[in-house]
């Protein structure tokens, strides 16, 4: 009797949460399909995809996303590795620093960036290329909480210190240890950090807007101001992208586990 009750309530809450998340999305989806009067159609999507400005801004943001991911990995894997290896006692402090982007509003952060780096001696907003450097640096900071946590969790699942020492005593140097031992055993962790960071950059609005670069976020806002159906289509598409990223993370981490389980006893 008792388990039945628990099952009922568990079911109830799941359904409620499901409705809470998916009803609005369903509304948006439905709306995005009604550009043509009276029938459901993909017209809004066609319009969006046909807009050269959309393609350009999507391409720009995707490139920014990839660059951000690459530099984040190169920055955070060795950093977190070093913290785990030599400075365990600093970990709580670093953890607090990495969640600062959650605490400080992005807008405050962006103003700080511009004030600090647009003037001499940096003058990083002078040319589009220099501004892009500033953008990537900013994205790396915004992605830091996710990237750090993903890699940190990955490091906790392997005995970093002992593996390092084992490799060292076998004659490996630091580069060999990083690339043969640390990176391969962090594949899943790095990948999930990378995909979340990528999704974050794709959807980011404020940085692109204030640094006046042709990113996808500002474009979506602009479209939203002037049109009715396309923004809904865009929203659904960006949702889809995020879900694809999350799906990939699950897929990769699962296939990794499976490999272990199938191979393991």
């Amino acid at each position: 009797m008792k388990t039945k009750r628990i099952n009922f309530w568990a079911f109830f809450w799941v359904v409620l949460a499901f409705l809470y998340f998916f009803l609005p999305m369903y509304g948006t989806l439905d709306f995005s399909l009604r550009m043509k009067k009276g029938v459901l159609s993909l017209l809004a999507y066609q319009k969006v995809l046909a807009d050269p400005q959309f393609l350009a801004s999507f391409r720009y943001s995707a490139i920014m996303g990839v660059i951000t991911v690459i530099f984040s990995i190169l920055l955070f894997v060795p950093t977190v590795y070093w913290i785990h290896l030599k400075m365990r006692q600093l970990r709580p402090l670093v953890e607090i620093i990495t969640i600062l982007p959650f605490i400080i509003p992005v807008i405050v952060y962006v103003f700080g960036l511009i004030r600090t780096f647009s003037g001499p001696p940096f003058q990083l907003t002078l040319t589009p290329f220099k501004t892009d450097i500033l953008m990537v640096a900013g994205y790396i900071v915004l992605a830091m909480p996710y990237m750090f946590r993903a890699i940190d969790v990955g490091m906790q699942t392997i005995d970093v210190r002992t593996l390092t020492e084992a490799a060292q005593s076998l004659g490996a140097n630091w580069a060999q240890i990083l690339f043969n031992v640390i990176f391969p055993n962090l594949r899943t962790a790095i990948l999930s950090g990378a995909l979340i960071s990528f999704a974050l950059v794709i959807g980011e609005l404020i940085l692109g807007d204030f640094l006046a670069r042709p990113a996808l976020g500002p474009y979506m806002v602009e479209v939203g101001r002037d049109m009715a159906y396309q923004p809904a289509a865009l929203a659904i598409m960006s949702y889809a992208l995020t879900w694809i990223c999350l799906g990939l993370i699950t897929l990769f981490s699962r296939s990794n586990n499976n490999q272990r389980q199938i191979l393991g006893r």
């Binding site: 002992t162 084992a166 004659g171 031992v181």
Partner: protein
């Protein structure tokens, strides 16, 4: 002939002194164990030999070459860890060959060595498996093969069997000794298990609180412990508080029962104790030997051995006897007479 030499090695972490005044000279091919309770500095000493820790002072040299400040990847020292520390992303063969790969040995040589090592640990069939597919004992064998594959000058093992089941532990212990003898490799073995140390080693270094207590062969350590710590830590020991009766003859007494110490130094007024191992005691009375009478307090079966605990003048004394069928075991509360030879006891 000294091969590996540790001179005046000291290591402190902040205010804790982990290792102090460590002097040891190890011959080529020798199997030396560091034995002591947890926290006594065994691992730290081993890690200084491996190069993972820098000594605060002192020197470590191998074949008269100063190793002290050489980084671990330049030492050619093999290390086996308690937690196996196999690379999870590599197969057994790749794990074993890793040390040769990173130092740029030719592929042919590497493959031949992998094969040789797989034969040494009897795991030829498992070469393509990943560590997660192996049992603990198999993983540790692979770790041993991986450490040996680089043909190290010294092999270091830090409690390699502690994470394994009792049965596998015994099996692997014999295997470690076999491989060590077969290769004639100089080995340092860290353990807190006296049985491991006694059964494996050519020589044992007993450590306590960062210091060496005694260095000697297993027989020396067991039969002639020089300090109370060693006597207590290695094997079981009875320590009977006694009063001196005759300092020159080494006669002492517990209550009114007179005993003769086998070995005694200067006996002065300080409180002293007579040490004797439980297995030296026998039931009965022998004229000219040491004899004690007491009351049986407890009896415990330890498998092949039965331990009888007596109360002698208010002091606990243990006696070990083989669990033979013909044995007549006393009952708790019985009066009981025990005897032991004079040579079997000494003053601590």
């Amino acid at each position: 002939m000294s091969y590996l030499e540790l001179s005046n090695v000291k290591k402190s972490f902040g205010t804790t002194i982990a290792v102090d005044d460590f002097n040891l000279s190890i011959a080529q091919g020798e199997f030396v164990s560091f034995l002591g309770p947890s926290g006594c500095g065994k691992t730290t000493t081993l890690r200084m030999v491996a190069g993972f820790e820098l000594p605060t002072s002192g020197q470590i040299s191998l074949q008269d070459k100063n190793l002290t400040y050489l980084p671990p990847n330049k030492r050619n020292v093999g290390m086996v860890f308690q937690s196996y520390a196999l690379f999870p992303n590599m197969t057994v063969a790749d794990n074993i060959g890793y040390g040769l790969k990173v130092t740029g040995k030719p592929k042919k040589e590497t493959n031949a060595r992998i094969k040789e090592m797989l034969g040494l640990i009897h795991m030829e069939e498992q070469h393509n498996k990943f560590p997660s597919q192996l049992s603990g004992g198999q993983q540790q064998r692979v770790a041993l093969a991986r450490a040996l594959a680089i043909r190290p000058q010294v092999l270091l093992l830090d409690e390699p069997l502690s994470a394994l089941d009792a049965k596998i532990r015994l099996e692997l212990r014999l295997e470690i000794r076999r491989i060590q003898q077969q290769l004639g490799i100089t080995t340092i073995y860290v353990t807190h298990d006296q049985e491991e140390a006694l059964s494996l080693s050519d020589r044992i270094v007993v450590m306590s609180k960062g210091k060496m207590e005694q260095v000697g062969t297993p027989a020396q350590i067991y039969t002639s412990p020089e300090t109370e710590f060693v006597a207590n830590f290695v094997g079981q020991i009875n320590l009977l508080p006694v009063k001196v009766v005759s300092p020159t003859q080494g006669k002492v007494k517990v209550g009114e029962q007179i005993l003769q110490a086998g070995k005694f130094g200067h006996l002065n007024g300080n409180p002293i104790r007579l040490a004797v191992r439980p297995e030296e005691l026998n039931h009965g009375f022998i004229e000219g030997a040491n004899n004690l009478s007491g009351k049986v307090e407890a009896i415990s079966y330890l498998g092949s051995i039965v331990r009888i605990r007596l109360d002698v003048e208010g002091n606990p004394i243990s006696m070990d006897v083989f669990n033979e069928r013909k044995l007549t075991i006393p009952s708790v509360g019985d009066d009981y007479q025990v005897t032991f030879p004079v040579e079997a006891c000494w003053i601590i």
